[in-house]
C-alpha cells in the first residue's frame, strides 16, 4: 500500500544535504522503502545495493 510521508521530512532532508542530490535521493529512497515495507528482515541487501548505486553516482564529504 502507498503510505503518506510527512513532506517536511523530505523537504528537510533536501535542506540538510546542501545541494548533494545523490545523498538526498538516497535518503528519500530509503524513507519510502521503510514507509512501504517496514519491518522486513531482508533489508540489508537492498540497502547495500542502493548504497553502492548512489555512492557510485558521486559521494562527497569526509567521514
Amino acid at each position: 500500500m502507498k503510505t503518506r510521508i510527512n513532506p517536511r521530512i523530505l523537504e528537510r532532508i533536501r535542506k540538510e544535504t546542501e545541494g548533494d542530490k545523490a545523498v538526498g535521493d538516497f535518503l528519500e529512497k530509503l524513507i519510502w522503502v521503510e514507509a512501504e515495507r517496514s519491518g522486513q528482515w531482508w533489508w540489508k541487501e537492498p540497502y547495500r545495493k542502493l548504497l553502492k548505486d548512489y555512492a557510485e553516482g558521486g559521494a562527497s564529504g569526509a567521514y
Binding site: N6, I31, G39, W43, K44, L51, A59
Partner: protein, 655 residues
Amino acid sequence: MRIERLILSNYRQFRELDIHFATKQDHDLHLFVAPTGTAKTNLVNAINWCLYYQEPHLTADSQLLPIINLKAIEEACDDADQEVKVEIWAKAKKDETIAFVRKGIYRVRSKQPVHQKTEFEVRVTDPKGNTKLLIDEDAHSYVERFVPQRIREFFFFDGERLDSYFREATGDKVRSAIFQISQIDLLDTVSEKLDLVLRELLKEAGKESPSIDATRANLEKAENSRKDCLQKIGECEKQIDMASARIKELRERLVGMPDAQTLEKERQDLGAERKRKEEVLKAKEAQKRDLLFEYATIIPLWLAIEKSTQVIAKKRAEGEIPPTVDKSLLEGILNEKVCKICGRSLDSLAVRHVRDVLEQVTLSSEVAQQLLRMEHPLGMFEDKVKDFEKNISRISKDIGDLKADMGRIEESIKKINTALSGHNTEQIREWNEALNQFEGLRADNQTRLGELKEAQRRVDTEIQRHKAELDREFKKVEKVKKLGKEKVFCAKALDIAQKTKEAILQEMKDKIEYETKRLFLELVWKKESFKDVRIDQKYQISLIHWMGWECLGTVSAGERELLALAFTLALHKVSGFDSPIVIDTPVARLAGESRENFGRVLCQVSKDKQCILLFHDDEYSSNIRKYMDSKAASRSLFRLSQDEKEVKMEVLSNA
C-alpha cells in the same frame, strides 16, 4: 477520516449493536447516555479491541468476565463455535470506505468459552464499489493510518483522566506521540540501519587491512562506550525529569500553603516551652504560698515587734540598758551592813536607803535584762521580715515575668494555629517531605549527569580521533578505495538523517506548542488570565499565568481539562490524522460553569471533527443538555436488559 458505523456482535454486554453515525450539517457530534452498569466504557474498549486487540479501559468486574457475551454462551450448544466481532466502518476523505473487522472465535464447552483464534482484516472499498481485502501487516498499516497505536490514547480516552492528563502524559509520552505523528520513527529506522551498514563496511575493509581492522575495533569500542554513556545519561535525565515533574507538582500544590513543617515544629517547641514555664510557675507559686504561710504568724505581730525594738533602742540610747548597778554588791552591803566600797559600817538610815535602792535596782534591772533578752530575737524577726519583703517581691516578679512569657507563647501558638487552620497539615507535611526527597534525588542525578557528560565528551574526542585515523587508513590501502567511497557516502547520509530528525522534532514541538496555546486561549473562558502555553525541551507542558508564573497545578479542573483537550486537538491537527475523538465520561469531574463551558467547547470542536461522547445519565445534566441536544447529530440511550446480560441501545434522535 470519520467513523460511519460501529457494529458489535457478542462483544461483552452488547449482543447485537449497530450504530450509524449520521452527519449533521454543522456538527459531527454523537452522544450516548448510559446509566451506571450499562457498560458504555466498553464501547471505547470495543474500538480499541477491534483496532489494536487491546481493552485498556476494562473495569475490574469486566476483567473477570469473558469477552464473549454471556447470553451467547448460555444459548450456545456444547462444542459449538461462537463468534465475537467488532467492525468499525470509517470513511476517508476521498470517499474510500475502510472497514476494520476483528473476530474472536470461541468454542463453548460446558458453558465455558475457550478461545480458538482471533482474526483481523481490513476491507477497503473505493467509490466505484471495488473492495480490496487486507490482512496481516497490510491490515495493520491501515490501522496506523487511521489512528497509530502509540497515540491512540490521544484519540480514544477517558474524560475522568483528563484532569490528571499532564501528570500522566510525561515528557516521554509527548515525545513519543510527536515521534509517531511526525514519522520521525522512519528516520530513526533508516539511521539505525545505515549505522549497521557502515559497521559492516568497516568490517569488510578490516579484512583487507589489519591496521584498518585495529582502528575499527577501537572505534567500535569507543562507540559502544558512548552508547553506554548515552544510555546512562538517558536514565539520569529520566530521573531528573521525573523528580522535576514531581517537584513542580508539589511546589504548585504548596503555593499559598503555610510552611506546616516549620510551623508545626515551632508550635511544638512553643508547647514544650509553655509546659516548662508552667512547671516553673507552679514551683514559684508554691514557694510564695510557703513564704506567706511562714510569715503568717510574724506579720500580725510586726507592729508590736517594731514597737519593742524602738523601746529597746530608746532605753539603750538613754543608757538604761544594759543596767549599770551591781545588784549582788548592794545585797552584800545589806547582809554585812558594811559598805564594800569605803568599808564604813552602815547605820539604820543607810541600811534603809540601800534597801530602797536595791528594791528599785532589782526591778529596773529585770526589765533591762528582759529587754536585753528580747532584743536579739526581735532583731532576728526584724531581719526576717525585711527578707520576706525582698523574697516575696522577687518571687512575685518571677511569677509576673513567667505569666507574661506564657502570654507571649500563647499568642504565638494562636498565630500558628490561625495560619494552619483549614489546612490538612498532615498532607502538607507529607508534601514537604516528598519535596525534600525529590529535590535530593534531582541534585544527586544532576551531579551524576555532569560526570557522565564529561565522560561522553572524552569518548566523543576519542571517536573523532579514530574516525580521522580510519579516513587516513582508507586512503592508504588501494584495495579498499571503493569501499571507502561507500563509507563516506553512508556516513554522510547517516549524519543528514540524524540532523533531519532533530530539526523535524523541534519543528513539530514548536507547532504543537503554538497550536495548543492558540486552541487553549480560544477555548478558555478566562482569556485574560493566561499568557502562554509552553512545551520545553523535555516535552513538559507548562501553563503560564498572565503574571508570569507557572500555574498548571493551581488552575481549576475545568481549565486543566481544557488544556488537555487543546493539547489533544493540537496533536490531531499537527499529526494530520483527521480521526475522530472519542471521550468516555467527558464532564464527570466538572461541575457548574466549568461543565457548561466544557460542553460548549466540545460542541464547537464537533464543527471540525467527529466527536463521540459517552455520558453517565447523571453527567448529562440540564446545563450540558441545553448546549448539546440541539447540536447533536445523534443521541442514543443504553439500557440494561432485565436479565442484566445484555445492553440495548435506543436511538433518541438521529440526523
